[in-house]
């Protein structure tokens, strides 16, 4: 499985503002393999800032990822004008490599704005790369707000797993 680390480094080199959300974000909060959920996607939440989105696209391209939107190649030129149009309509860009890394660059997180999530982010490390990750509380609340069947399934499974894993452990003082 392709690591997210090279892209995280490319984001950091360009000062891209982002937080990892979704199941991939929740996985980084795992304290045991029992709460790691199988997923191929990395959900990258970006602020509605065209310049930042353009930098994120450039970081993906520098890592050799192919950019698509609505199952078609992202049009060119990939410039600030295009990024502004994307931000206006809160467009989703997908970045993939030839193996199995799939990154969703999203400008939307159900129930939250970027500026609500950003100050409370935390950092974890993957293969030496620092990854900004949304609070687990924000991730589960967003899934509840989204309310899709797959969110319901994730939340029910996650709750059950946490209950089993933390049963008998004393809460942190």
């Amino acid at each position: 499985m392709t690591s997210f680390a090279p892209l995280a480094r490319a984001f950091a080199e360009r000062d891209v503002r982002y937080v990892l959300i979704g199941v991939s974000g929740a996985n980084l909060h795992a304290h045991s393999a029992g709460v790691v959920f199988t997923t191929q996607d990395r959900d990258v939440f970006l602020p509605p800032d065209p310049a930042n989105l353009l930098l994120a696209w450039q970081a993906c391209e520098a890592c050799g990822l192919t950019l698509t939107t609505s199952n078609a190649p992202l049009e060119e030129p990939r410039d600030l004008f295009l990024a502004e149009r994307f931000v206006e309509r809160r467009g989703l860009t997908q970045a993939r490599d030839e193996d199995d890394l799939q990154v969703d660059l999203t400008l939307v997180m159900a129930g939250f704005t970027f500026e609500e999530v950003w100050p409370e982010r935390t950092f974890f490390s993957i293969a030496g790369a620092e990854i900004p990750v949304a609070r687990l509380m924000h991730i589960v609340a967003s899934k509840a707000a989204a309310g899709r069947d797959r969110d319901r399934l994730f939340l029910a499974t996650h709750e059950d797993n946490l209950r089993q894993l933390l049963q008998g452990e004393e809460p942190a003082k």
Partner: protein, 77 residues
């Protein structure tokens, strides 16, 4: 119909009749407390190395890619 088949059919019928719950998802107080506890675990201090989570996913992918269906009647006891 033998008992095993009858129970299998009952399970299939129950699955077909199941309807996903509707309406907003409400997170229980207990779940939210568990999430807060997880956030405060030493394993989740900022900067913690979580490379192991990618290894878990890679192992899962390897297992799925290398799994194969065993023809009926050839399973080892």
């Amino acid at each position: 119909m033998d008992e095993v088949t009858r129970r299998a059919w009952a399970a299939i019928e129950a699955a077909l009749a199941w309807k996903p719950p509707e309406g907003p998802i409400v997170l229980s107080g207990e779940y939210l407390r568990l999430v807060e506890r997880v956030e405060q675990l030493p394993e989740n201090r900022p900067g913690t190395d979580k490379t192991w989570t990618e290894r878990v996913l890679a192992q899962w992918k390897h297992a799925v890619e290398n799994s194969r269906k065993i023809p009926r009647g050839t399973q080892r006891e």
